[in-house]
């Protein structure tokens, strides 16, 4: 129970920080998406079923507190989680650079996916969103990538969370 409740609580906490403290940073464009980092971390260390549900829930929370009416994060977050699952065990993701690149690229992929979905689902063309790719998405993805090693380190340090997940992962995989 704790291995589900704890990341859930962590997700709510990260979302709270993202909507309050990180939003009051002086530079508006440098706003790391720490909920995405947590989702990717779960993707690397959590089993498919429970992690997928957690990613779905975190996406739902993101949609709930954003001006996004369509529920795009509810779709993109589990998808990103499953993409992270593909990387699990296949790449060396212990170093600063690899963790940075992994999250930076994931954030870019998610941003592009959201842009495609926004354009596909909206009746009117959203041409004015394209400049945001360079002015918002790139700096945000970069800042998200930069703080990833620190957050991964802190999450790894929480041996309770990790050991439980590993144990659970083995059990689920049989």
């Amino acid at each position: 129970m704790r291995r589900i409740v704890f990341p859930l609580f962590l997700g709510v906490l990260f979302l709270t920080l993202q909507t309050t403290l990180l939003r009051s940073l002086p530079v508006q464009r440098i706003r790391p998406d720490i909920v995405l980092i947590l989702t990717l971390y779960l993707g690397l260390s959590y089993p498919l079923i429970s992690g997928g549900i957690l990613a779905f829930f975190m996406g739902y929370l993101m949609d709930l507190f954003s001006g996004n009416i369509l529920g795009l994060y509810t779709f993109s977050r589990p998808l990103i989680f499953y993409i992270a699952q593909l990387f699990k065990g296949r790449f060396y993701l212990e170093g600063f650079l690899s963790q940075f690149l992994f999250v930076f690229l994931s954030a870019l992929v998610e941003g592009l996916l959201i842009l495609i979905l926004l354009n596909g689902l909206n009746p009117n063309p959203l041409g004015n969103l394209y400049p945001l790719l360079f002015t918002v998405l790139l700096p945000q993805s970069f800042s998200t990538g930069l703080i990833t090693p620190l957050l991964f380190f802190l999450l790894n340090k929480d041996s309770l969370l990790l050991s439980n997940q590993k144990r659970m992962g083995l059990r689920e995989r049989g």
Binding site: T16, T19, T20, R23, Y60, F65, F75, L126, L132
Partner: protein, 291 residues
């Protein structure tokens, strides 16, 4: 046979689960696209659960900011002259608190004066959280359905239009800011009375759409609400035109607008409860919300 069945189950259950999760997200998305709303009960429940954390976090961050501004930067100098600097810090802290109070007082007074000026009934609310993503522009406030707030209600400040209520929970609500790409407000250019729709452009910018090429607009023109739609009272300031682009062909010209309210520094807002769209009307709406 049973073992084979088990392995087949293991083989197909995981991909099936992935498909179920992604499919349910897509179904949820299609529901939202169709009805422009989510699972209301669950949404309200989750907002009620998460918003108190935001409230606490916002007040903590405000306190920390206050301490940093008023005291912590001076700790450094205390090493040089402890007594004097400590006294100075205390005085500065006091001064800072008084200044903060004076600023808050001024702000609230303006809000109160403005509240008295407008005829509609309004509710004052405090901003407790902002949008977690960079694509969308919204804020969370500490007033909800219990206070009479409903979806679609207009949100303003003494400086002008802020947005409209997007989601509600018993004690909290989420405002869609005018800078969000989903927002659209029926407006007029104050000087020439030219009609246009103000649409969000992200990053504290809006654009004027459907502004006729024949209408004369210049940089610096003020844009106000037209009052059409019923949510926003007529004549509320929306923003100032920053750029006019008549290049290209077609019936319309392009113009960029800077909102009159600095939406990145919102602290208090007023929700107009006097007139709102009936829910049935909202349900039937598709595409962009035009007020």
């Amino acid at each position: 046979m049973r073992i084979r069945g088990f392995f087949l189950y293991r083989k197909y259950s995981l991909p099936a689960f992935i498909i179920i999760i992604l499919l349910s997200a897509l179904i949820l998305m299609s529901l939202r696209v169709k009805q422009r709303k989510g699972v209301d009960f669950l949404d309200a429940l989750l907002i009620e659960f998460c918003s108190p954390f935001q409230k606490v976090s916002t007040s903590v961050s405000k306190t920390i900011q206050g301490v940093f501004r008023g005291y912590l930067f001076l700790v450094h100098l205390q090493k040089e002259n402890t007594m004097l600097k400590q006294r100075l810090a205390e005085l500065q802290q006091e001064n800072h608190q008084m200044k903060e109070m004076a600023i808050a007082n001024e702000r609230l007074q303006k809000l109160l004066q403005f509240r008295e000026k407008i005829s509609s009934s309004v509710i004052a609310a405090e901003v407790i959280g902002q949008d977690p993503s960079s694509w969308f522009k919204s804020v969370t406030i500490n007033k909800g359905e219990k206070d009479g707030i409903r979806k679609g209600m207009a949100v303003i400040s003494h400086e002008g239009v802020i947005g409209q209520i997007l989601k509600t929970a018993p004690d909290y609500a989420i405002i869609l800011l005018i800078t969000d790409y989903n927002s659209a407000i029926d407006s007029i250019v104050q000087r020439t009375r030219a009609k246009a729709i103000v649409e969000g452009k992200g990053e504290n910018r809006c654009q004027l759409k459907y502004l006729l090429r024949a209408d004369e607009v210049i940089v610096g023109d003020i844009v106000v609400t037209s009052g059409l739609g019923g949510n926003f009272p007529k004549g509320l300031m929306v923003g100032e035109i920053r750029k006019v682009d008549k290049r290209g062909h077609g019936v319309f010209q392009n113009a960029e607008l800077v909102p009159s309210v600095d939406l990145t520094k919102l602290e208090e807002v007023l929700v107009i409860t006097g007139s709102s769209l009936p829910l049935q009307e909202e349900k039937g709406k598709k595409g962009k919300k035009t007020k």
